[in-house]
């Protein structure tokens, strides 16, 4: 398993410092590199103090929702006497996103350290790390690292000699994108079908096994020890654009670029530079056509929007899309937008849990319409139908998988209308690969 590239000078290397450094994976190697200093410091602080530091840093959830982490931790009840739980969401299944796997397989102890700090801050004695079933390498690496951390007394009944109990349990998923949704993750952990739950109740009130629970993404937790070590002010200062988006983030860039991979950049970084500079730009003779920045569950950006956008939560919203998990799917002029929209709809149809009517039937129906358009059998009213179905699939369901299916469809039709029209006019030859 190789790592694609050494760090680019424009990257701000914090989380990815040891990507590619095999020695950093061991407990000893991690300690030698300054690891577990953050945990040691945290264990000497009060939970309130840790939460304040997190709030001051401006760290926002890196799984896709961007919810302020310190604020989320502060929702946990104090002194309620119930067991608290931390869940680490390592179910990374959002198309275009492949950063958490790198964190786990190169710096597993970074994640362990972050989880341990979070446990202390929210009063949890047990952290479950939910790793998707297909991540066999990260599983193996994390298993070894957790065992090492127990053996070294870093976690366990008496974490680092502090008297605090911190247990970390790895849990293997079994193939369901929807289990990346925090409430579905909890149901799956409890031994149920991975159905999202209605909210309220919110996890901090009644989550895993009905107890107060916080769920955080791998990258979010990995950032926590750095914030404690170097201070909230340092983290906050790492921002180029909007002060509400601080710190660094791993941007996964894939698709039609010369150098796909993960790039750690400061929030507010120009998207143009990310694509053309860090990711090596287009293949020879190709021009940029479209970018889906958030993983696939966000509106497609066209070339103009992509080249003008700043990479942070607000900057991308300004250009009509969302940062999400920052899994960039880059398409050049050779890409068939209609096919890719179809293929994404097919993805969502496959992953729908089946609870809500609009999602269960709508993801499948829109896939069928798009499939027929691709076969050259589309009808003129199909586009209006797709837009109307998409509207009824948005904001009406328990979770946002349905909305996620609708976003590429709506933005695809709105911004790449000519490609759809070409299929409707049967001007293009049917391109249904793999069928």
């Amino acid at each position: 398993m190789g790592y694609p590239h050494p760090s680019h000078p424009k990257e701000t290397v914090v989380l990815s410092k040891y990507f590619g450094d095999a020695a950093a994976r061991t407990h000893q190697g991690w300690v030698e590199r300054g690891g577990y200093e953050g945990l040691k410091k945290a264990l000497g602080m009060t939970p309130e103090a840790i939460i304040e530091e997190l709030k001051a840093s401006g760290l926002r959830g890196r799984g896709g929702a961007g919810f302020p982490t310190g604020l989320k931790w502060s929702f946990m009840p104090k002194g309620d006497g119930k067991p608290h739980y931390l869940c680490c969401n390592a179910d990374e299944s959002e198309p275009g996103t492949f950063k958490d796997r790198e964190i786990m397989r190169w710096t597993p102890h970074a994640l362990i350290e972050g989880c341990a700090v979070a446990c202390h801050a929210i009063g949890a004695e047990t952290c479950y790390i939910y790793i998707r079933g297909e991540f066999t390498d990260p599983w193996a690496v994390m298993s070894t690292a957790v065992a090492e951390a127990y053996a070294a007394g870093t976690i366990g009944a008496n974490a680092m000699g502090s008297g605090t109990r911190i247990d970390i349990v790895l849990f293997r998923g079994a193939g369901a994108y929807i289990c990346g949704e925090e409430t579905a993750l909890m149901n799956s952990l409890e031994g149920k079908r991975g159905n999202p739950r209605i909210k309220p109740p919110f996890p901090a009130a009644a989550g895993l096994f009905g107890m107060p629970t916080t769920i955080n993404n791998v990258e979010t937790l990995a950032a926590v020890p750095h914030i404690l070590n170097r201070g909230a002010a340092w983290y906050k200062a790492l921002c180029l654009g909007n002060p509400k988006s601080t710190g660094t983030k791993l941007f996964s860039v894939c698709g039609h670029v010369m150098k796909p991979g993960n790039f750690e950049i400061t929030m507010g970084f120009p998207m143009k530079d990310l694509i053309y500079d860090l990711a090596g730009g287009m293949r020879p003779g190709r021009t940029l056509k479209a970018v889906i920045p958030g993983g696939s569950s966000v509106p497609i950006m066209n070339r103009q929007e992509a080249e003008a956008a700043l990479c942070d939560y607000e900057g991308i919203v300004e250009k009509g899309s969302m940062l999400g998990s920052a899994g960039f799917i880059v398409m050049d002029d050779s890409a068939d937008i209609v096919y890719e929209v179809y293929r994404l709809a097919k993805f969502y149809a496959h992953e729908s849990c089946a609870q809500c009517t609009q999602c269960r039937e709508g993801t499948a129906w829109t896939t069928k319409i798009l499939e027929r358009i691709l076969k050259g059998q589309g009808k003129p009213e199909d586009l209006a139908l797709l837009l109307e179905l998409s509207e009824q699939m948005t904001g009406k369901t328990i979770c946002v998988l349905s909305d996620s299916c609708a976003a590429p469809i709506v933005s695809g039709i709105q911004k790449f209308r000519s490609e759809f029209d070409a299929y409707l006019r049967r001007a293009k030859a049917p391109v249904l690969a793999g069928a």
Partner: protein, 172 residues
């Protein structure tokens, strides 16, 4: 760790218990880590699949009784998750990602090469010699290393049509 699959299984005859010996120890080691038995369901199903290559109705009933659940409940959970097999599969189970990021990077050609080299002919089928089953799956979370495939538990990145014969040779 490559999992053996489908050796000598057809439709299940009388179900031989899975959770004896080492498998039983593994299951019991799970109990203290969760506050409920039910939470051990997904890990228990993984143990079954590692031992037998697939999860039969008899195995579902066995898991159900060990965890205080009904077989119908266990079946509802098993059929929700894509990675659990409810039928025997080829000795080596190959999953290839064809979601948009990988499609953009040529997953179609990888699929064709795999189907040809394994002799499966079409996605979802098992090869005539029973060695391989190839299915397409959704995003495997390695989009920057297109096209990733899983052969049993081996995650192989950056598969190209040219690399396919060499990869498969390791599983003959």
């Amino acid at each position: 760790m490559s999992g053996g699959a489908g050796t000598g299984h057809g439709a299940e005859g009388e179900h031989q218990p899975v959770f004896v010996g080492g498998a039983r120890d593994k299951l019991e080691a799970l109990f203290p880590r969760f506050p409920t038995r039910q939470a051990c369901l997904l890990p228990a199903l993984w143990i079954v699949q590692e031992e037998r290559g697939w999860i039969s109705p008899g195995a579902m009933a066995e898991v159900a009784s060990l965890l205080g659940l009904t077989p119908a409940y266990v079946r509802g959970v098993v059929t929700f998750y894509t990675m659990y097999h409810t039928h025997p599969v080829g000795r080596h189970f190959i999953q290839v990602c064809t979601t948009s990021p990988c499609h953009l990077c040529g997953s179609d050609d990888v699929v064709k090469a795999l189907l040809k080299e394994t002799g499966c002919g079409e996605l979802g089928a098992t090869s005539p010699d029973g060695r391989f089953t190839v299915i397409e799956v959704e995003c495997l979370g390695a989009c920057g290393f297109a096209t990733p495939i899983l052969v049993d538990n081996d995650f192989i990145e950056s598969t190209s049509p040219e690399r396919v014969p060499g990869i498969l040779a390791g599983y003959r």
